[in-house]
């Protein structure tokens, strides 16, 4: 991307001033190199987002932004219902509340090493991964309603976890305002056998080693030390979220004209927050957030079972659970005024800073943990939210590396078996039902996550706390 298209505010902040139908500026957080490597489509998409009714302050793109659907992946935008603001199914995406949960194991790498293979086998046996895998939980109408309303709290009530897990989950594990009656029969049908499954694509369960600490004080509070072993779960709302996204995307695109909304791209499909369609979507989308929270809770339970068989007596406590694809009602200060805004994060992590009232007491001084997933074979990072980010991007940070290469290019360039062997030589065990899936998720098909995280840190979106390296990866 040509950097001359921007007004550079500082080293990592690039502004596109409003032109044409843009109501607000668009801002991309990147350094010169990341910006030059960005697809021009990100420019088009983020300026399109800036045209939507009721958008506040600016449309933001995170350092890992790439070409998405309507919104770029790594896109953030807040809308004010009092100014005709909208909610966009395209701005949330198909995998509603896809996110990352990280668990402490209490083990260090030396304790893991002799039983690494056994742990990989136990996890692969216990946690259903990949297309066509089915969970052991089958939901009937009543349990589906409970799950869609209760999220991780519902999962706890079914025996999947401990009460103390909840305070380490955004929304305390249960998204308020879910309205299951707006979740279609088809979305339910897609989900009834999928609870507790990882899914496929870039979703994974990973055993990781802490290799570097950047902020000792925060790391102490987060409970992270060099050579500690942690586990991270990356997955979302499965078929239910996909179906809700599919249905509302079409409905919103079809009814845009009725609401006098001009869509520069049909994928930006949206409806006024105060309209029946907007409210129905919010109710269904929040139910899908609960589905994702319940799903990660069940996978946590399965992970605990698998680990108990290899390391009896080990307790897996949550570090935190973050969601990437959401629209949430939050209070933010705009021009000195408190506003209730609907913040869309499409492939972006909520990053509340120190003192935020929604955080549990343990994170009051540090800000929330911001969990940045790598791709198979590459590093992941733990960051913490900052106060400054409130003004920078409505308390939002990046979510991962973002692809640098398409799936077809990746599967032409690499063989799954060769990759598995190469990663094994580096001490990383890969378990996956599909070698082609492994090839498409090759580490080199992704951008350098370290460069993305460094920019997020320098921009003040979040602060680096710890670096994690993969040891075992169960790929969906």
């Amino acid at each position: 991307m040509d950097t001359n298209q921007f007004n550079q505010r500082d080293e990592t902040c690039w502004e596109i001033r409003p032109t044409g139908a843009m109501r607000v500026p668009a801002i991309i957080y990147a350094d010169a190199q990341l910006l030059q490597e960005l697809d021009q489509k990100v420019y088009e998409q983020i300026t399109n987002v800036a045209t939507l009714p009721g958008i506040v302050e600016a449309a933001y793109a995170m350092p890992d932004a790439h070409w998405g659907y309507g919104f770029p992946i790594g896109g953030v935008a807040a809308f004010d219902p009092e100014q005709g603001g909208v909610v966009s199914a395209g701005g949330v995406g198909f995998d509603i509340s896809c996110g990352v949960r990280t668990l402490h194991t209490g083990l260090n790498i030396a304790e893991l090493r002799p039983r690494k293979q056994a742990l990989a086998d136990a996890l692969y046996r216990t946690v259903p991964a990949g297309v066509g895998s089915r969970g052991k939980i089958h939901l009937n109408h009543k349990s589906m309603q409970g799950m869609l309303t209760g999220g991780a709290q519902w999962a706890l009530d079914q025996g999947f976890g401990d009460e103390q897990d909840l305070e380490r989950i955004e929304e305390h594990g249960c998204m308020a305002g879910a309205e299951p009656h707006y979740v279609s029969p088809r979305a339910r049908e897609r989900q009834k056998d999928e609870m507790g499954t990882l899914g496929s694509g870039n979703h994974y369960l990973e055993v990781q080693r802490v290799t570097e600490i950047f902020d000792q004080t925060v790391a102490n509070i987060f409970g992270l030390r060099v050579d500690d072993v942690v586990m991270s779960i990356h997955c979302g709302s499965r078929g239910l979220g996909h179906q809700i996204g599919t249905e509302f995307l079409k409905d919103m695109a079809m009814s845009a004209a009725q609401y006098n909304i001009v869509l520069p791209d049909r994928e930006l499909a949206c409806a006024p927050l105060t309209s029946p369609l907007g409210k129905h979507y919010l109710g269904a989308m929040r139910a899908a957030i609960n589905c994702a929270l319940a799903n990660r809770q069940i996978i946590t339970h399965l992970t605990r079972q698998a680990v108990a068989g290899v390391f009896p007596g080990i307790q897996l406590d949550l570090l935190y659970d973050v969601s990437h694809n959401t629209c949430k009602l939050e209070q933010h200060t705009v021009n000195g005024q408190q506003k209730n805004l609907f913040v869309h994060r499409k492939g972006a992590t909520r990053a509340f800073g120190p003192g935020h009232p929604d955080l549990p007491a343990v994170f009051k001084d540090t800000g929330q943990p911001v969990l940045i997933g790598g791709s198979m074979g590459t590093s992941s990072y733990v960051l913490c939210g900052t106060k400054a980010c409130e003004q920078l991007a409505f308390s939002s940070a990046c979510h991962g590396a973002g692809r640098a290469m398409s799936r077809s290019q990746a599967s032409k360039r690499w063989q799954g078996k060769t990759l598995v062997d190469a990663l094994a030589a580096q001490g990383i065990i890969i378990r996956s039902p599909s070698l082609r899936g492994v090839a498409e998720e090759a580490p080199a098909a992704y951008k350098d996550v370290s460069a993305v995280v460094d920019v997020a840190d320098r921009a003040g979106l979040a602060r680096k706390v710890a670096k994690l390296e993969p040891v075992i990866c169960i790929k969906g």
């Binding site: 309507g70 897609r190 496929s200 994928e267 799936r407 077809s408």
Partner: protein
């Protein structure tokens, strides 16, 4: 086969999208282009060629234009694939007055045998186009989210 005939044979291809993948069917008729786009969809998940046709599913869709009809058609197949754990090898499509009726033939997912690379979440409006080329061939395409 002479080049001209080859070009006029119904076929499919994938096209690039940063995060995901585009599916495209190209054929002498609109219905055949829809059939080929659906084969391209199966090929995102697995190689369609070795699949058997032991199962058949009847599908109907209605939409106000050809592009929305393509989106509905692909989304219907994604739904059937997910709910019935089927992989489709071949399709018989008829389209009249923006109504599509079809039979999709395929087999039940065998995770070991089919080595499915990825599941498809939904069809998108991105690069969604249905049109007839100057040479008379129909093109039906969109990006699918995986």
């Amino acid at each position: 086969m002479p080049l001209n005939n080859q070009l006029l044979t119904p076929h499919w291809e994938h096209f690039e999208h940063d995060a995901d993948i585009g599916i495209r069917g190209i054929a002498p008729t609109l219905a055949q282009a829809f059939e080929q786009a659906a084969v391209a969809m199966t090929a995102v998940m697995t190689n369609p060629e070795p699949l058997t046709e032991s199962n058949a599913v009847v599908i109907t869709c209605n939409a106000s234009d050809n592009e929305l009809l393509l989106m509905d058609w692909i989304n219907e197949l994604i739904y059937q694939t997910a709910v019935h754990h089927l992989l489709f090898k071949r399709y018989q499509v008829e389209i009249a007055d923006s109504k599509l009726s079809a039979i999709a033939f395929g087999e039940t997912v065998d995770r070991q045998k089919h080595q499915i690379a990825v599941e498809i979440k939904g069809a998108t409006f991105t690069e969604l186009h249905v049109y007839q080329q100057p040479d008379g061939m129909w093109v039906a395409q969109c990006v699918v989210d995986v």
